[in-house]
């Protein structure tokens, strides 16, 4: 018996009872489709989170002022960090660029337009750390920081909301009634889970502290952000920063840190693990429907063995060996499973890609493993659901089978 004989015999048996075969195949189609879609959903979520963290850079470390928790109460707003801390951290060998930063809300006026937005005081290194590109004009330099110049770099949304001309460099805007010169507009970056990066104003940190906020502690900041070299070890640098800041802040052994260090790489790894589990959970839920589909195949094959008892008897009488009967019934269940898996794969990929691209306008990642999964499912489900009926068929006594009514 050749492979083509086996496939032909299986096809003729399956197509002999079209409705029942279709309903059985439908179970596998739904199961595989559900798994493929869930894989796509899981990967999309994972990809989306990874993209957002990648935009920030995995070699980015953020230090925030204040202890994480003290006596059960968060106290993260205390300005325990200073610009001098940032300058000291810059001396660490693995630090590529660093900026102290302080945010605040700003009421901005241009002509008769009024816009409330977020304002951030930084160093020029902020562009390197956050991969910011300036589309029109330039970013301010360290001279502007030293001089506390009233320069402003605008997010593209802010520039649009204020009704600034297409090239707004040189235009004067008023922040908290203080005139600022627009020196650049950032390239659009889109929204992230950390908020809009396109609606903000960046000014020199010194300008923010001294001129706008008139702070009695102009050196203090709420945040320091830094980027380390790609080959540097995040954990080592984090430890070095921690030790340095504890020493500078004169913290004794046993004292809690008065700062929090957030390592983006660590967060991304954690998020990756979490989304990985989420993906597994989704697949597990979808796999239940696949299991139900495979039980459907087994049920159909068991019924088929009973219905075809006499046929099995005839086949045995004319020389079919037990293993040939087993192969025939197994190939029928594998063929049903294969057809179901292929249609399930096509529908699953089609729906996830179609809904993702045309309805959600999101580029759903396409990976090869749903294909591998479908082929594996076809073989594993087909074999596992067909093995019991096949053995039952093979073990039928030819005399009893031939007499079966």
């Amino acid at each position: 018996m050749t492979v083509s004989d086996i496939i032909k015999e299986s096809w003729l048996s399956i197509s002999g009872n079209k409705l029942r075969s279709f309903l059985t195949v439908l179970g596998i189609i739904i199961g595989v489709m559900a798994v493929v879609i869930m894989v796509a959903v899981g990967e999309t979520v994972q990809q989306s989170i990874t993209d957002q963290f990648s935009a920030l850079g995995t070699n980015t470390i953020v230090i925030r002022a204040g202890a994480a928790r003290r006596g059960g109460i968060r106290s993260g707003n205390r300005n325990t960090l200073t610009i001098t801390d940032a300058e000291q951290i810059r001396r660490l060998p693995d630090v590529m660029s660093i900026t102290p930063a302080q945010s605040g809300s700003a009421q901005v006026i241009y002509g008769n337009k009024n816009w409330a937005t977020m304002m951030l005081g930084t160093y020029p290194d902020y562009t390197t750390i956050q991969d910011i590109e300036v589309e029109n004009g330039t970013f301010f330099d360290m001279t502007a920081v030293k001089n506390a110049s009233t320069y402003a770099v605008l997010g593209p949304d802010t520039a649009r909301e204020l009704g600034l001309p297409e090239n707004p460099v040189g235009e004067i805007i008023r922040i908290q009634n203080m005139p600022f010169v627009v020196i650049g507009v950032m390239k659009a970056r889109g929204d992230s889970s950390f908020g809009s990066q396109d609606d903000m104003i960046i000014i020199p940190i010194t300008t923010l502290k001294k001129r706008l906020q008139g702070s009695p502690f102009p050196d203090s900041v709420t945040m320091i952000a830094l980027k380390i070299y790609q080959d540097a070890d995040n954990a080592v640098v984090t430890d070095q920063i921690s030790a340095l800041l504890r020493q500078r802040h004169r913290l004794k052994d046993g004292d809690e840190d008065d700062f929090q260090i957030t390592d983006m790489k660590q967060i991304m790894e954690t998020m990756d693990t979490v989304t990985g589990y989420l993906k597994l959970l989704l697949i597990a839920i979808a796999a239940v429907s696949l299991l139900v589909g495979s039980i459907g195949i087994m049920n159909m094959m068991l019924v088929s063995v009973v219905e075809r008892t006499r046929e099995i008897g005839v086949r045995k009488a004319v020389g079919a060996k037990e293993r040939v009967i087993i192969i025939q019934f197994l190939s029928e269940s594998v063929l049903i499973s294969f057809i179901g898996s292929m249609f399930g794969l096509l529908l699953g990929v089609g729906l996830s890609q179609g809904v993702g691209r045309f309805i959600l306008h999101y580029n759903v990642p396409f990976s090869a493993w749903p294909v591998l999964l479908s082929v594996s499912v076809a073989i594993v489900v087909g074999l596992s659901s067909g093995v019991m009926p096949a053995i039952k068929a093979a073990k039928l006594n030819p005399i009893d089978s031939l007499r079966y009514e």
């Binding site: 004989d5 086949r315 060996k321």
Partner: protein, 248 residues
């Protein structure tokens, strides 16, 4: 002198079936006979006499409880189910009372079935199956399904299937049981022709003396014992007398 071994050689074959309610029942007692190549033997007996069990053993569908059975010189008493399947495929062609054709396969596929299990190439299978369909006069019906044929035609398809593997022996179990007398006689004449013209050995199981008369030799089984083995007698009375003798 014929150097060929007998096609069928049964020596003291007994068959005992376990009963579902417990205990056991013996249906064949020390059955001994030989059938030579080219013979046409009718195995006759009333219902429950053990003739079908005897046929199942001869057809390698069942095995004897004791005794030995040699088919064409091979002892098949202790063969495994798969070895018996090979023996059936190579040596025996079955013709059943109810035809036993595969209802969803066309006539050609049905006739090719034993050849597929023998491992013949598709071309050889088709060629051989067409030859057999021509032999039984159904060469124009190869794409028909069994349900589209009359009873006599179905039985001719079954004969073509039985012959397709070029067997040493045709085993026909009540081959006219599902046919009217006209078609039945047609099939029996065909068997006679096959035996006479092609020298094919035929063993036919029947409970009717008129049908047994188509054979050259008759083995009569009664209550699991052979009560007659010889040329087919002129009338059934001889057999009935022997049965009565045995009952005493």
């Amino acid at each position: 002198m014929n150097s060929e071994p007998p096609i069928v050689s049964l020596q003291k074959v007994c068959k005992i079936f376990p009963l579902e309610i417990g205990g056991q029942q013996q249906v064949l007692f020390d059955i001994t006979f030989q059938i030579d190549s080219g013979d046409f033997v009718a195995i006759m007996g009333p219902s429950g006499s053990g003739k079908s069990t005897c046929m199942n053993i001869i057809g390698a569908l069942d095995s004897a409880t004791t005794g030995t059975y040699e088919l064409y010189g091979k002892d098949i008493t202790t063969m495994t189910p798969d070895e018996l399947a090979t023996v059936r495929n190579e040596y025996i062609g079955f013709v059943f009372q109810n035809f036993n054709l595969l209802p969803k396969r066309n006539i050609l596929d049905n006739v090719m079935l034993p050849l597929m299990y023998r491992g013949l190439s598709p071309d050889d299978r088709i060629r051989r199956a067409r030859e057999m369909l021509k032999l039984v006069g159904l060469e124009n019906f190869e794409s028909y399904l069994p349900t589209q044929l009359s009873g006599g035609m179905k039985q001719r398809v079954a004969i073509a299937r039985a012959l397709s593997g070029n067997p040493k022996l045709i085993l026909a179990d009540e081959p006219t049981g599902s046919l009217d007398s006209k078609m039945g006689n047609e099939i029996l004449r065909f068997f006679k022709k096959l035996n006479h013209d092609m020298g094919i050995t035929i063993i036919m199981i029947t409970h009717e003396f008129e049908i047994a008369q188509y054979g050259r030799r008759l083995i009569h089984i009664y209550d699991g014992h052979i009560t007659f083995d010889g040329p087919v007698p002129k009338n059934e009375n001889v057999l009935l007398k022997l049965d009565k003798e045995h009952s005493k």
